[in-house]
Symmetry: C2
Subunit: 327 residues, 2 copies
């Protein structure tokens, strides 16, 4: 059994806990939190909730520590810090800062003899894998990534910061015509506006100026101004009833050529449709925790990504079994 | 530059030759054939065509030998045999015999210190990878594989063996309603007939009994009897004009659950739409040849499959580059 620790008990940490429940070869050792442990109620019976200040006490009891904090401020500090004590895995998703994060984690993990894996989940993660595989097979072609339909936390937060907004949710939606053009091998050049639309469900405070809110959303630079955005004002009850989930998903395409004179078209498409973004992300994390544990047991240290892990390492089955049944 | 040899210059061998042309880091050293070398005309200028009896002479000039023969009779002999002399890669696709083939190749490669990779392409190959990844992420769920729309060589051959048939092509087609049910998370139980239909284009010999041919096709055990099959009689000109290509493709789905009580549905879908089946298969082979060559240079011997290869090994780019641009 692989002994797993969780640092941070939000949606992602809870997702890891659920994934462990359904894994044949993993058990939850402890959950670490910055909050008062007494205020944190786990789903799993008999597992301790421990203040993060005591995390060093578990050094010999945990094979892999799952870092379930956020990419903005938590993980840039936590992953290098805890790679000194544990084999770690995170879902760092600030694409532009990955090289910097990698370097910091690699240094800490190598110095302490641990194994780390960063930027795991679905994007970065499974989508990255599909981009890489498809580019290696079809060196000449175009990549397309679409996100949604799904809830963007960043855009929902941006709506909620507007004066007069009590609550809100934002869905990112791929433009169907753009998907079809890519799927048909048309290799379109797509602007930001042509790829995705944004749909907002907003609960306004009593007496708030709805026209002003709508205008502020639609003209917000970076977040909404470059998109066709729809704003719906709804009641708090409707928001809770219809928009409490955190579904997400998306599409990765490679449209590429083969043949002596590039005479053949090929479309590789990978897509995800997820009822719960964090539950899926944490299921990917747990599969890769298995690989981190194995790599560590084989003496491989330092920082890795999904690109460095042979797929067989993710499976609880033996190599003989997967060759016989999945190849 | 990786120096590549090709054994067998049919559709697959020619596809490898085309893939090499478009690869930044591979060059074709020689093509080996059982035919009279003078009868084989390559697309690449200045590369020798050599009778297979002289293959040993190239021992120091080739990094990876691509075995481009058939799975029925060629590869079970060739892959173990040539793994004694070269690092090899094949597209062995008789799923049920993979364990046996693996054992024979592994023994030969280990004894001679070579690196082999078997059952590479898209199924087995990319489809297998997607089955494995998706099963590791979603341990509870159902797998679905659909093939087509595309030309099945085996079924086309079966048609051509019927008395009175001059030529013919068979397309395997997924049933759209079955695809939709899977995509919608309905987790249907599908019979053979419910998953695929078969469409045949047949050129009858002059004076042949078309009703008899059609009946023989539709009732042929294993090949057609379990499917809804359509038969079209067309002229030889029409067959050549409209059905000379070898397109193929297909879909791999995992429909699985996440959440504490499996309350969330998730659909992972991977699909391929290929103008030329052999050109794509050989592009996958060449990407994996890169990995075989690297594994050999790292001292890893024996037989491998796509499950054992870290994705980064397939790329001509450095680890830094792929982390920065594809993660």
């Amino acid at each position: 059994m692989m002994k797993v620790g969780i640092l941070g008990y939000g949606n992602l940490g809870k997702g890891v806990e659920c994934a462990i429940k359904h894994a044949p070869d993993a058990e939850l050792t402890a959950v670490f939190t910055r909050r008062d442990p007494a205020s944190v109620k786990l789903l799993t019976k008999g597992v301790p909730v421990v203040n993060v200040s005591e995390i060093e006490n578990y050094k010999d009891k945990i094979d892999v520590l799952m870092l379930c904090g956020g990419s903005a401020t938590d993980l840039p500090k936590q992953t290098p810090e805890y790679a000194k004590l544990y084999n770690v895995i995170d879902s760092f998703d600030t694409h532009a800062k990955i090289p910097e994060h990698y370097a910091a984690v690699d240094k800490a993990a190598k110095e302490s003899g641990h194994t780390a894996l960063i930027s795991c989940g679905w994007d970065p993660g499974m989508f990255s894998l599909n981009r890489l595989y498809a580019n290696c097979i079809l060196p000449e072609g175009n990549d397309y990534t679409f996100w949604g339909k799904g809830v963007s936390q960043g855009h929902s937060d941006a709506i909620r910061r507007i004066e007069g907004v009590k609550d809100g949710k934002q869905y990112t939606i791929p433009v169907p015509e753009a998907l079809e053009a890519v799927r048909n091998g048309e290799n379109p050049t797509l602007s930001t506006r042509q790829k995705h639309t944004r749909e907002c469900f907003v609960v306004a405070e009593e007496g708030a100026d709805k026209a002003k809110i709508e205008n502020e959303i639609k003209t917000m630079p970076n977040y909404f101004a470059d998109y066709d955005t729809t704003v719906h004002f709804i009641s708090e009850e409707e928001l809770i009833r219809d928009h409490s989930g955190i579904p997400h998903g998306g599409f990765v395409f490679r449209s590429g050529k083969t043949g002596w004179d590039n005479e053949y078209n090929n479309i590789i498409e990978y897509s995800l449709k997820l009822d719960s973004n964090p539950a899926f992300t944490s299921s990917v994390l747990l599969a890769y925790a298995r690989a981190v544990n194995r790599l560590h047991n084989e003496g491989v240290n330092g920082c890795k990504t999904v690109f460095d892990v042979a797929p067989a390492m993710l499976s609880p089955l033996s190599d003989d079994e997967i060759r016989a049944h999945m190849l």
